[in-house]
Amino acid sequence: MGIQDLMLKSPYLNAASMFGFAPPSHWPLDLPPGAFITHPISLKPRAPAENRTVLQFAGGFLLHTGLPNPGLFATLKQFARRWARSPLPVWVHIIPSSPAEAAQMVAHLENIEGVTAIELGLPPGLTDDENLRMIEAACGELPLLVSLPVDRYREAWVFQTGKSPVSGLILSAPRGVLFRTDRTLVEGRLYGPALFPQMLAAFHALRSTGLPLIVGCGLYRHADVEAVLASGALAVQFDGALWKGLLP
Protein backbone atom coordinates (compact mmCIF):
# COMPACT_ATOMS: atom_id res chain seq x y z
CA MET A 1 0.00 0.00 0.00
CA GLY A 2 1.48 3.32 -1.04
CA ILE A 3 0.24 6.86 -1.28
CA GLN A 4 -0.78 6.20 -4.90
CA ASP A 5 -3.05 3.34 -3.77
CA LEU A 6 -4.80 5.73 -1.42
CA MET A 7 -4.95 8.36 -4.17
CA LEU A 8 -3.07 10.81 -2.00
CA LYS A 9 -1.75 13.89 -3.77
CA SER A 10 1.02 14.26 -1.21
CA PRO A 11 1.89 12.66 2.14
CA TYR A 12 0.69 15.74 4.08
CA LEU A 13 -2.77 15.43 5.60
CA ASN A 14 -4.86 16.99 8.33
CA ALA A 15 -5.87 15.02 11.40
CA ALA A 16 -9.57 14.46 11.96
CA SER A 17 -11.27 17.12 14.12
CA MET A 18 -8.78 19.81 13.04
CA PHE A 19 -10.44 21.10 9.88
CA GLY A 20 -14.18 20.68 10.09
CA PHE A 21 -16.39 18.76 7.67
CA ALA A 22 -15.35 20.09 4.28
CA PRO A 23 -12.03 20.92 2.63
CA PRO A 24 -10.95 24.44 3.57
CA SER A 25 -10.46 27.10 0.95
CA HIS A 26 -7.04 27.81 2.39
CA TRP A 27 -4.49 25.26 3.66
CA PRO A 28 -2.41 27.08 6.26
CA LEU A 29 0.90 25.21 5.90
CA ASP A 30 3.61 25.50 3.25
CA LEU A 31 3.40 21.73 2.54
CA PRO A 32 0.81 20.78 -0.09
CA PRO A 33 -2.18 18.81 1.21
CA GLY A 34 -2.64 15.24 0.00
CA ALA A 35 -6.21 14.58 1.14
CA PHE A 36 -8.87 15.98 3.41
CA ILE A 37 -9.94 14.08 6.53
CA THR A 38 -13.33 15.03 7.94
CA HIS A 39 -14.26 15.84 11.49
CA PRO A 40 -15.29 12.64 13.31
CA ILE A 41 -18.83 11.66 12.32
CA SER A 42 -21.19 9.39 14.24
CA LEU A 43 -24.27 7.71 12.87
CA LYS A 44 -26.57 9.76 15.09
CA PRO A 45 -26.09 13.42 16.06
CA ARG A 46 -23.85 14.17 19.03
CA ALA A 47 -24.16 17.30 21.15
CA PRO A 48 -21.11 19.03 22.61
CA ALA A 49 -19.91 17.67 25.95
CA GLU A 50 -21.35 19.58 28.87
CA ASN A 51 -17.90 20.18 30.36
CA ARG A 52 -16.19 20.85 27.01
CA THR A 53 -12.91 22.62 27.39
CA VAL A 54 -9.36 23.10 26.22
CA LEU A 55 -6.57 23.07 28.81
CA GLN A 56 -3.00 23.95 27.99
CA PHE A 57 0.19 22.48 29.39
CA ALA A 58 3.79 23.18 28.44
CA GLY A 59 4.16 21.94 24.90
CA GLY A 60 0.62 20.80 24.39
CA PHE A 61 -3.06 20.97 25.14
CA LEU A 62 -5.94 18.76 26.15
CA LEU A 63 -9.13 19.01 24.13
CA HIS A 64 -12.43 17.72 25.43
CA THR A 65 -15.38 18.38 23.15
CA GLY A 66 -17.54 15.28 23.00
CA LEU A 67 -16.84 15.25 19.22
CA PRO A 68 -20.08 17.08 18.40
CA ASN A 69 -21.43 16.46 14.93
CA PRO A 70 -24.82 16.43 13.24
CA GLY A 71 -24.74 12.69 12.47
CA LEU A 72 -23.94 10.95 9.19
CA PHE A 73 -27.08 11.76 7.27
CA ALA A 74 -27.28 15.44 8.21
CA THR A 75 -23.56 15.75 7.44
CA LEU A 76 -24.05 14.22 4.01
CA LYS A 77 -26.96 16.51 3.31
CA GLN A 78 -24.83 19.51 4.13
CA PHE A 79 -21.41 18.52 2.78
CA ALA A 80 -21.63 15.66 0.25
CA ARG A 81 -21.71 18.06 -2.68
CA ARG A 82 -18.57 19.79 -1.46
CA TRP A 83 -16.86 16.42 -1.07
CA ALA A 84 -17.83 15.53 -4.64
CA ARG A 85 -16.35 18.80 -5.92
CA SER A 86 -13.25 18.63 -3.75
CA PRO A 87 -9.94 18.64 -5.63
CA LEU A 88 -8.58 16.62 -2.70
CA PRO A 89 -9.56 13.03 -1.98
CA VAL A 90 -11.88 12.93 1.04
CA TRP A 91 -11.43 10.46 3.87
CA VAL A 92 -14.42 10.26 6.18
CA HIS A 93 -13.56 9.70 9.83
CA ILE A 94 -16.34 7.63 11.36
CA ILE A 95 -16.94 7.01 15.07
CA PRO A 96 -19.50 4.21 15.20
CA SER A 97 -20.66 2.93 18.56
CA SER A 98 -21.14 -0.68 17.43
CA PRO A 99 -20.06 -3.00 14.60
CA ALA A 100 -23.55 -2.77 13.11
CA GLU A 101 -23.27 1.02 12.98
CA ALA A 102 -19.81 0.73 11.44
CA ALA A 103 -21.08 -1.54 8.68
CA GLN A 104 -24.08 0.71 8.02
CA MET A 105 -21.98 3.86 7.81
CA VAL A 106 -19.36 2.32 5.55
CA ALA A 107 -21.97 0.86 3.20
CA HIS A 108 -23.57 4.27 2.88
CA LEU A 109 -20.30 6.11 2.31
CA GLU A 110 -19.28 3.74 -0.47
CA ASN A 111 -21.85 5.46 -2.66
CA ILE A 112 -20.73 9.01 -1.95
CA GLU A 113 -18.73 10.72 -4.66
CA GLY A 114 -15.34 12.04 -3.63
CA VAL A 115 -14.95 9.73 -0.64
CA THR A 116 -11.85 7.63 -1.24
CA ALA A 117 -11.21 6.08 2.17
CA ILE A 118 -12.66 5.49 5.60
CA GLU A 119 -10.85 6.40 8.78
CA LEU A 120 -12.17 4.48 11.78
CA GLY A 121 -12.10 5.96 15.26
CA LEU A 122 -12.63 3.33 17.94
CA PRO A 123 -14.52 4.19 21.11
CA PRO A 124 -12.40 4.05 24.25
CA GLY A 125 -12.90 1.13 26.62
CA LEU A 126 -13.51 -1.69 24.14
CA THR A 127 -12.01 -5.13 24.69
CA ASP A 128 -9.56 -6.60 22.19
CA ASP A 129 -12.31 -8.69 20.61
CA GLU A 130 -14.68 -5.74 20.41
CA ASN A 131 -12.03 -3.63 18.68
CA LEU A 132 -11.36 -6.36 16.14
CA ARG A 133 -15.08 -6.88 15.50
CA MET A 134 -15.50 -3.16 14.91
CA ILE A 135 -12.62 -3.13 12.45
CA GLU A 136 -13.95 -6.17 10.63
CA ALA A 137 -17.37 -4.57 10.35
CA ALA A 138 -15.87 -1.40 8.86
CA CYS A 139 -14.05 -3.29 6.12
CA GLY A 140 -15.83 -2.68 2.84
CA GLU A 141 -14.98 -1.60 -0.64
CA LEU A 142 -13.17 1.56 0.41
CA PRO A 143 -9.69 1.46 1.92
CA LEU A 144 -9.92 1.40 5.73
CA LEU A 145 -7.48 3.17 8.01
CA VAL A 146 -7.71 2.58 11.73
CA SER A 147 -7.04 5.47 14.07
CA LEU A 148 -4.89 4.24 16.95
CA PRO A 149 -4.33 6.61 19.88
CA VAL A 150 -0.60 6.33 20.59
CA ASP A 151 -1.16 5.50 24.26
CA ARG A 152 -2.82 2.24 23.16
CA TYR A 153 -0.18 0.90 20.78
CA ARG A 154 0.79 -1.99 23.06
CA GLU A 155 -2.73 -3.45 23.20
CA ALA A 156 -2.93 -6.98 21.86
CA TRP A 157 -5.61 -6.30 19.26
CA VAL A 158 -3.34 -3.84 17.44
CA PHE A 159 -0.99 -6.62 16.40
CA GLN A 160 -3.90 -8.65 15.01
CA THR A 161 -5.28 -5.81 12.93
CA GLY A 162 -3.43 -7.08 9.88
CA LYS A 163 -5.75 -10.11 9.72
CA SER A 164 -8.43 -7.81 8.35
CA PRO A 165 -7.97 -6.02 5.02
CA VAL A 166 -6.86 -2.81 6.73
CA SER A 167 -4.94 -0.29 4.64
CA GLY A 168 -3.03 1.20 7.52
CA LEU A 169 -2.86 2.49 11.07
CA ILE A 170 -2.97 6.15 11.95
CA LEU A 171 -1.06 7.03 15.10
CA SER A 172 -3.41 9.59 16.59
CA ALA A 173 -3.81 11.75 19.66
CA PRO A 174 -3.61 9.89 22.98
CA ARG A 175 -5.96 10.53 25.85
CA GLY A 176 -4.97 12.18 29.08
CA VAL A 177 -6.32 13.91 32.16
CA LEU A 178 -5.68 17.40 33.53
CA PHE A 179 -6.96 19.49 36.40
CA ARG A 180 -9.20 22.45 35.75
CA THR A 181 -8.61 25.56 37.80
CA ASP A 182 -11.28 24.35 40.22
CA ARG A 183 -9.26 21.11 40.69
CA THR A 184 -11.84 18.91 38.98
CA LEU A 185 -10.41 16.43 36.52
CA VAL A 186 -11.14 16.50 32.83
CA GLU A 187 -10.26 13.81 30.32
CA GLY A 188 -9.60 14.46 26.66
CA ARG A 189 -7.34 14.07 23.67
CA LEU A 190 -3.80 15.42 23.91
CA TYR A 191 -2.05 17.39 21.20
CA GLY A 192 1.18 19.29 20.86
CA PRO A 193 4.89 19.04 20.10
CA ALA A 194 5.54 17.52 23.54
CA LEU A 195 3.92 14.29 22.30
CA PHE A 196 6.44 13.69 19.53
CA PRO A 197 8.69 11.29 21.51
CA GLN A 198 5.69 9.21 22.60
CA MET A 199 4.48 9.04 19.02
CA LEU A 200 7.94 8.04 17.80
CA ALA A 201 8.07 5.16 20.31
CA ALA A 202 4.75 3.86 19.00
CA PHE A 203 5.85 4.32 15.40
CA HIS A 204 8.99 2.24 15.85
CA ALA A 205 7.21 -0.46 17.85
CA LEU A 206 4.51 -0.85 15.22
CA ARG A 207 6.79 -1.15 12.22
CA SER A 208 6.97 -4.87 12.97
CA THR A 209 3.28 -5.22 12.12
CA GLY A 210 4.10 -4.59 8.48
CA LEU A 211 1.06 -2.34 8.22
CA PRO A 212 1.42 1.05 6.56
CA LEU A 213 1.68 3.70 9.28
CA ILE A 214 0.47 7.27 9.15
CA VAL A 215 1.92 9.52 11.83
CA GLY A 216 -0.85 11.76 13.08
CA CYS A 217 0.28 13.25 16.35
CA GLY A 218 2.97 15.51 17.76
CA LEU A 219 4.18 16.93 14.45
CA TYR A 220 5.00 20.62 14.72
CA ARG A 221 8.40 20.85 13.01
CA HIS A 222 9.43 20.41 9.39
CA ALA A 223 12.47 18.38 10.47
CA ASP A 224 10.34 15.90 12.42
CA VAL A 225 7.93 15.56 9.51
CA GLU A 226 10.68 14.76 7.04
CA ALA A 227 12.36 12.41 9.52
CA VAL A 228 9.29 10.22 10.03
CA LEU A 229 8.61 10.13 6.29
CA ALA A 230 12.21 9.12 5.66
CA SER A 231 11.78 6.42 8.33
CA GLY A 232 8.99 4.81 6.38
CA ALA A 233 5.78 6.54 7.43
CA LEU A 234 3.27 6.37 4.60
CA ALA A 235 2.03 9.88 5.33
CA VAL A 236 1.69 12.38 8.16
CA GLN A 237 -1.30 14.11 9.66
CA PHE A 238 -1.04 17.55 11.24
CA ASP A 239 -3.19 18.46 14.23
CA GLY A 240 -2.53 21.55 16.33
CA ALA A 241 0.11 22.76 13.88
CA LEU A 242 -2.72 23.56 11.49
CA TRP A 243 -4.10 26.01 14.04
CA LYS A 244 -0.82 27.42 15.28
CA GLY A 245 1.55 26.99 12.33
CA LEU A 246 4.69 24.86 12.18
CA LEU A 247 7.61 25.64 14.44
CA PRO A 248 11.02 26.38 12.88
Binding site: S17, M18, F19, G20, F21, P24, H26, P28, H39, A47, P48, A49, R52, T53, V54, Q56, A58, G59, G60, F61, L63, H64, T65, G66, L67, P68, Y191, G192, P193, A194, Y220, G240, L242, W243, K244, G245, L247, P248
Partner: protein, 230 residues
Protein backbone atom coordinates in the same frame (compact mmCIF):
# COMPACT_ATOMS: atom_id res chain seq x y z
CA UNK B 1 -8.20 35.20 5.30
CA UNK B 2 -4.74 36.75 5.41
CA UNK B 3 -1.97 35.25 7.54
CA UNK B 4 0.71 37.84 8.17
CA UNK B 5 3.59 38.49 10.49
CA UNK B 6 3.42 41.17 13.13
CA UNK B 7 5.56 42.30 16.04
CA UNK B 8 4.72 42.78 19.69
CA UNK B 9 6.08 46.27 20.26
CA UNK B 10 5.41 46.70 23.96
CA UNK B 11 3.74 45.03 26.91
CA UNK B 12 2.03 46.64 29.86
CA UNK B 13 1.07 45.19 33.20
CA UNK B 14 -2.60 45.77 34.02
CA UNK B 15 -4.86 44.51 36.76
CA UNK B 16 -6.30 42.02 34.27
CA UNK B 17 -2.92 40.72 33.10
CA UNK B 18 -0.51 41.68 30.33
CA UNK B 19 -1.77 43.98 27.58
CA UNK B 20 0.22 44.89 24.51
CA UNK B 21 0.85 47.01 21.46
CA UNK B 22 1.13 45.09 18.17
CA UNK B 23 2.53 46.29 14.88
CA UNK B 24 0.58 44.59 12.10
CA UNK B 25 -0.95 45.30 8.71
CA UNK B 26 -4.34 46.99 8.70
CA UNK B 27 -5.86 44.01 6.86
CA UNK B 28 -5.87 41.77 9.92
CA UNK B 29 -7.05 44.29 12.49
CA UNK B 30 -10.27 43.35 14.23
CA UNK B 31 -13.22 45.65 14.74
CA UNK B 32 -14.96 45.98 18.13
CA UNK B 33 -15.83 42.50 19.38
CA UNK B 34 -13.98 40.76 16.55
CA UNK B 35 -10.69 39.02 17.21
CA UNK B 36 -7.49 37.93 15.61
CA UNK B 37 -5.32 35.00 16.52
CA UNK B 38 -1.62 35.21 17.15
CA UNK B 39 0.96 32.46 17.32
CA UNK B 40 4.48 32.83 18.55
CA UNK B 41 7.30 30.44 17.66
CA UNK B 42 7.56 29.50 21.34
CA UNK B 43 7.42 25.72 21.63
CA UNK B 44 5.69 25.84 25.02
CA UNK B 45 2.61 27.35 23.40
CA UNK B 46 0.89 24.70 21.30
CA UNK B 47 -2.12 26.90 20.55
CA UNK B 48 -2.59 30.35 19.11
CA UNK B 49 -3.74 33.19 21.35
CA UNK B 50 -6.95 35.16 20.85
CA UNK B 51 -6.47 38.93 20.74
CA UNK B 52 -9.12 41.63 21.03
CA UNK B 53 -8.50 45.22 20.00
CA UNK B 54 -8.78 48.19 22.34
CA UNK B 55 -8.03 50.74 19.58
CA UNK B 56 -9.72 52.72 16.87
CA UNK B 57 -8.84 51.69 13.29
CA UNK B 58 -6.44 54.58 12.70
CA UNK B 59 -4.49 54.04 15.92
CA UNK B 60 -1.71 51.56 16.77
CA UNK B 61 -3.24 48.21 17.72
CA UNK B 62 -3.57 47.89 21.48
CA UNK B 63 -4.62 44.38 22.44
CA UNK B 64 -6.45 43.57 25.62
CA UNK B 65 -5.20 41.33 28.40
CA UNK B 66 -4.39 38.64 29.19
CA UNK B 67 -1.40 37.94 26.94
CA UNK B 68 0.79 34.89 27.64
CA UNK B 69 3.28 35.50 30.43
CA UNK B 70 6.21 34.52 28.20
CA UNK B 71 5.59 37.16 25.54
CA UNK B 72 8.10 39.99 25.30
CA UNK B 73 8.60 43.14 23.22
CA UNK B 74 10.08 42.33 19.84
CA UNK B 75 8.39 38.93 19.64
CA UNK B 76 7.34 38.00 16.11
CA UNK B 77 3.72 36.91 15.86
CA UNK B 78 1.93 35.01 13.10
CA UNK B 79 -1.46 36.70 12.82
CA UNK B 80 -4.76 35.67 11.26
CA UNK B 81 -7.76 37.93 11.25
CA UNK B 82 -10.04 39.71 11.51
CA UNK B 83 -12.25 36.88 12.69
CA UNK B 84 -15.79 36.49 13.92
CA UNK B 85 -18.80 38.75 14.20
CA UNK B 86 -18.29 41.82 16.33
CA UNK B 87 -20.57 44.40 17.89
CA UNK B 88 -23.10 46.16 15.70
CA UNK B 89 -23.44 49.60 17.23
CA UNK B 90 -26.63 51.15 15.84
CA UNK B 91 -25.93 54.49 14.16
CA UNK B 92 -28.82 56.03 16.07
CA UNK B 93 -27.58 54.84 19.50
CA UNK B 94 -27.16 57.80 21.84
CA UNK B 95 -27.16 56.13 25.28
CA UNK B 96 -24.72 53.26 25.36
CA UNK B 97 -24.36 51.05 28.43
CA UNK B 98 -21.29 48.85 28.64
CA UNK B 99 -21.23 45.93 31.03
CA UNK B 100 -18.06 44.02 31.82
CA UNK B 101 -18.93 41.12 34.06
CA UNK B 102 -15.98 39.28 35.61
CA UNK B 103 -13.95 40.19 32.55
CA UNK B 104 -11.63 43.06 31.60
CA UNK B 105 -13.51 46.21 30.63
CA UNK B 106 -10.71 46.84 28.13
CA UNK B 107 -12.50 44.40 25.85
CA UNK B 108 -15.14 47.08 25.35
CA UNK B 109 -12.72 49.94 24.92
CA UNK B 110 -12.72 50.12 21.13
CA UNK B 111 -16.51 49.99 21.11
CA UNK B 112 -16.52 52.78 23.68
CA UNK B 113 -14.50 54.96 21.39
CA UNK B 114 -16.71 54.24 18.40
CA UNK B 115 -19.76 55.18 20.50
CA UNK B 116 -18.20 58.44 21.65
CA UNK B 117 -17.19 59.23 18.09
CA UNK B 118 -20.80 59.04 16.98
CA UNK B 119 -21.89 61.36 19.79
CA UNK B 120 -23.35 58.83 22.22
CA UNK B 121 -23.21 59.13 25.98
CA UNK B 122 -21.50 56.07 27.46
CA UNK B 123 -21.67 54.47 30.88
CA UNK B 124 -19.61 51.56 32.11
CA UNK B 125 -20.65 49.05 34.75
CA UNK B 126 -17.78 46.74 35.49
CA UNK B 127 -16.89 44.25 38.16
CA UNK B 128 -13.22 44.92 37.33
CA UNK B 129 -11.51 48.30 37.72
CA UNK B 130 -11.99 50.58 34.70
CA UNK B 131 -9.05 50.46 32.29
CA UNK B 132 -6.58 53.37 32.58
CA UNK B 133 -7.19 54.25 28.94
CA UNK B 134 -10.93 54.73 29.47
CA UNK B 135 -11.92 58.10 27.95
CA UNK B 136 -12.88 60.76 30.52
CA UNK B 137 -16.30 61.22 28.92
CA UNK B 138 -17.36 57.75 30.04
CA UNK B 139 -19.42 57.66 33.23
CA UNK B 140 -18.33 54.81 35.47
CA UNK B 141 -21.10 53.34 37.61
CA UNK B 142 -20.74 50.84 40.42
CA UNK B 143 -21.87 47.41 39.31
CA UNK B 144 -24.73 47.62 41.79
CA UNK B 145 -26.30 50.18 39.43
CA UNK B 146 -26.50 47.72 36.55
CA UNK B 147 -30.28 47.82 36.37
CA UNK B 148 -30.33 51.63 36.24
CA UNK B 149 -27.83 51.53 33.38
CA UNK B 150 -29.98 49.06 31.48
CA UNK B 151 -33.08 51.18 32.06
CA UNK B 152 -31.25 54.25 30.74
CA UNK B 153 -29.59 52.77 27.66
CA UNK B 154 -30.77 52.45 24.09
CA UNK B 155 -27.89 50.06 23.32
CA UNK B 156 -26.23 47.63 25.67
CA UNK B 157 -22.96 45.79 25.09
CA UNK B 158 -21.69 43.24 27.57
CA UNK B 159 -18.55 41.14 27.90
CA UNK B 160 -18.55 38.00 29.99
CA UNK B 161 -17.13 34.51 30.12
CA UNK B 162 -19.41 31.74 28.93
CA UNK B 163 -19.52 30.20 32.39
CA UNK B 164 -20.68 33.50 33.92
CA UNK B 165 -23.60 34.10 31.58
CA UNK B 166 -26.19 32.51 33.86
CA UNK B 167 -25.12 34.80 36.72
CA UNK B 168 -25.23 37.89 34.51
CA UNK B 169 -28.62 36.88 33.21
CA UNK B 170 -29.85 36.65 36.80
CA UNK B 171 -28.41 40.07 37.63
CA UNK B 172 -30.11 41.59 34.62
CA UNK B 173 -33.36 40.11 35.88
CA UNK B 174 -36.40 41.01 33.85
CA UNK B 175 -34.93 44.26 32.63
CA UNK B 176 -34.11 42.98 29.17
CA UNK B 177 -37.63 41.61 28.68
CA UNK B 178 -39.16 44.85 29.92
CA UNK B 179 -37.05 46.85 27.47
CA UNK B 180 -38.12 45.06 24.31
CA UNK B 181 -36.75 47.84 22.09
CA UNK B 182 -33.29 47.77 23.69
CA UNK B 183 -30.61 46.42 21.39
CA UNK B 184 -28.43 44.21 23.59
CA UNK B 185 -25.34 42.28 22.55
CA UNK B 186 -22.84 40.19 24.43
CA UNK B 187 -19.22 39.31 23.74
CA UNK B 188 -18.77 35.77 25.02
CA UNK B 189 -15.30 34.93 26.21
CA UNK B 190 -14.27 31.33 25.94
CA UNK B 191 -11.31 29.44 24.54
CA UNK B 192 -11.48 29.29 20.74
CA UNK B 193 -8.54 27.04 19.92
CA UNK B 194 -9.37 26.37 16.27
CA UNK B 195 -10.60 29.94 15.62
CA UNK B 196 -13.12 28.73 13.07
CA UNK B 197 -10.85 26.33 11.20
CA UNK B 198 -11.92 23.09 12.78
CA UNK B 199 -15.49 23.18 14.07
CA UNK B 200 -13.82 21.58 17.06
CA UNK B 201 -16.80 22.27 19.29
CA UNK B 202 -15.02 23.60 22.38
CA UNK B 203 -16.70 26.97 22.01
CA UNK B 204 -20.16 25.60 21.16
CA UNK B 205 -22.98 27.67 22.62
CA UNK B 206 -26.67 26.90 22.66
CA UNK B 207 -28.87 29.61 21.23
CA UNK B 208 -32.53 29.85 20.37
CA UNK B 209 -31.48 28.87 16.82
CA UNK B 210 -29.61 25.76 18.01
CA UNK B 211 -25.93 25.10 18.58
CA UNK B 212 -23.55 27.79 17.32
CA UNK B 213 -19.79 28.17 17.37
CA UNK B 214 -18.65 31.24 19.25
CA UNK B 215 -15.52 31.41 17.06
CA UNK B 216 -17.52 31.51 13.83
CA UNK B 217 -21.00 32.77 14.64
CA UNK B 218 -19.84 35.09 17.43
CA UNK B 219 -18.06 35.95 19.59
CA UNK B 220 -20.75 38.65 19.80
CA UNK B 221 -24.36 37.47 19.97
CA UNK B 222 -27.63 39.18 20.59
CA UNK B 223 -28.30 38.64 24.29
CA UNK B 224 -31.86 37.78 23.38
CA UNK B 225 -30.68 34.86 21.22
CA UNK B 226 -28.83 33.10 24.02
CA UNK B 227 -30.37 30.32 26.02
CA UNK B 228 -30.23 30.42 29.80
CA UNK B 229 -27.09 28.26 30.04
CA UNK B 230 -24.90 28.89 26.97
Amino acid sequence: MPIVNGTLLEIRFTESGLAGLVDCPRAVRPGPGQYLIASSQREEEALPVTLFSMSLPDEPLQVSPPLPAGWYPGLTLRLRGPLGHGFTLPREARRVALVAYQSPAGLLLSLTRFALKQGAAVTLCSTFPPPPALPEEVEVLPFSQLKEAVAWADYLAAAFAREHYAELRQLLGNHLQERASLSAEGLILTPMPCAGLGSCGVCAVHTRAGWKHICLDGPVFSLRSLEEAP
